[in-house]
Amino acid sequence: MKRIIYLFIISLVLVLVPLNANAQCKGFAKKICRMELVPYIHDGNYHAAILLEGEEAELYKTFYSGQEYRIAICGSDNLPEIEFTIMDANKNVLYSNKDNDYARVWDFNLESSQQLKIAVTVPPGGNEAEEPESGCVAIMFGLKVK
């Protein structure tokens, strides 16, 4: 009976730990990353994930002419500076934060509506012998109310 209880507790811990990590990710996106959007209004969409050093994420979105956008991309403190590039549908790089001191935000508007890709990379850690760090990475969009 004790063993069953023991197994149940371990199972519960293993299931709840990722959920707790996700909950922390939501808190990080909401309390830390969203602040980067000010004075723009957050569009309300939630894009965040736990990534390891060396991992990548991509986001596809249509951006509309006539709107003013701010993109904010943030990683938790234990991760290295997050890199991101914005590409058009022909894979031309329109912006890279690597060329801009790893800025967390990018403000832009468009003459015509476009589908763009945002490629996000958590650079690999310096020490290969160590376990890679993992942390929350959030991608958020701000809009200007006119």
Binding site: K26, G44, Y46, H47, Y60, G66, L94, F108, L110, Q115
Partner: protein, 318 residues
């Protein structure tokens, strides 16, 4: 020390058959958790030429390398409402989904679709400073969120804060954005990405419905709203990808059928664009993405799209 621990653990495992079954159970739980956590691994010099965007879209979205996580982002109900307003639309409350319908929505699919539609209507009403309608639509959205078991996305405190700041549009926008983020993050974190996707589609269809209904058919060529509607051809590609991520869900399959039906009409819209040039305004630190787009929509095709949107939207809100 590590080896001693390892040997000790192996001895323990070998001595308890139940423990081995337990490990299998744990492995199964971990496997299921990882499958449903939302992480999705996939394998998979501009000249002055005009490019047909419909050719690009499908290739562009399929060109996914070795990445840990892929997001397909639709315009949120707030962004949709802002687009409609900035295109010069006039507020017409008769077009919105009646709050009286809220009690009709009892299934997960209908509540998810109408959480999206009510949030879009709420955003729309708020952007036009319609205070009473804003409170009513927030209450309707709360009903949907509660029905979906989304804990505390919209609570009594939210409604009170909305009422207290009803004349402050910025705070109202912040509240709407906050509640929508609470709903979508709750659904995603609780492995209900299928429901989160349906909420987004519900808001997107409502926005498309409002936009198509507000177009003056006599001035299709000069209408900003028509341009916004044609732009949805690009978002439609993303809608399809988003729904494909949850294609095991019967609710998603039925929504996908409607979306594919609509896509068949949007596929006839032609959009061509010149390559984009990014130009930074040093003074404001804002980049302008410069490009020229040409698109065409015949009156017949506009009517076809509008009629399909009406059928889908009425199905969703009835």
């Amino acid at each position: 020390m590590r080896n001693i621990f390892k040997n000790h653990l192996l001895m323990k495992i070998n001595s308890f058959p139940m423990f081995r079954y337990g490990l299998l159970l744990l492995a199964a739980i971990m496997f299921m958790a990882s499958c449903s956590s939302g992480g999705k691994g996939k394998t998979g010099e501009p000249e002055e030429v005009v490019v047909d965007i419909s050719q690009i879209d499908s290739d562009f979205l399929d060109d996914i390398g070795e990445v840990k996580k892929i997001f397909y982002s639709l315009p949120s109900p707030l962004e949709t409402a802002m687009m409609i307003r900035s295109a010069g639309a006039v507020y017409n409350e008769d077009l919105l989904n009646s709050i009286d319908n809220a009690s009709n929505y009892t299934t997960t699919k209908s509540m998810a679709l109408n959480l999206g539609s009510y949030t879009c209507d709420l955003s729309f009403a708020s952007l036009y400073d319609q205070t009473e309608a804003s409170i009513n639509y927030m209450n309707a959205a709360k009903k949907m969120a509660d029905g979906l078991g989304i804990l505390d996305a919209i609570n009594d405190e939210t409604i009170q804060r909305l009422e207290e700041n009803i004349n402050n549009r910025d705070i109202i926008m912040e509240i709407i954005s906050d509640t929508f983020m609470n709903s979508s993050s709750y659904l995603q974190e609780n492995n209900r990405a299928n429901v989160a996707a349906i909420v987004l589609v519900g808001g997107w269809i409502e926005g498309l419905f409002l936009a198509t209904q507000m177009v003056d058919e006599d001035s299709l060529d000069s209408s900003k709203l028509v341009n916004r509607i044609m732009d949805q051809k690009m978002s439609l590609e993303i809608v399809v990808k988003l729904l494909e991520e949850s294609k095991d869900s019967p609710d998603v399959i039925s929504v996908m059928e409607d979306v594919q039906n609509l896509k068949a009409s949007f596929d006839k819209v032609t959009i061509t664009t010149t390559p984009i040039e990014a130009e930074l305004d040093e003074e404001t630190n804002v980049t302008v993405l410069k490009s020229q787009t040409q698109s065409s929509l015949t009156p017949a095709l506009f009517k076809e799209i509008r009629d399909k949107v009406v059928v889908i939207r009425n199905k969703y809100i009835s």
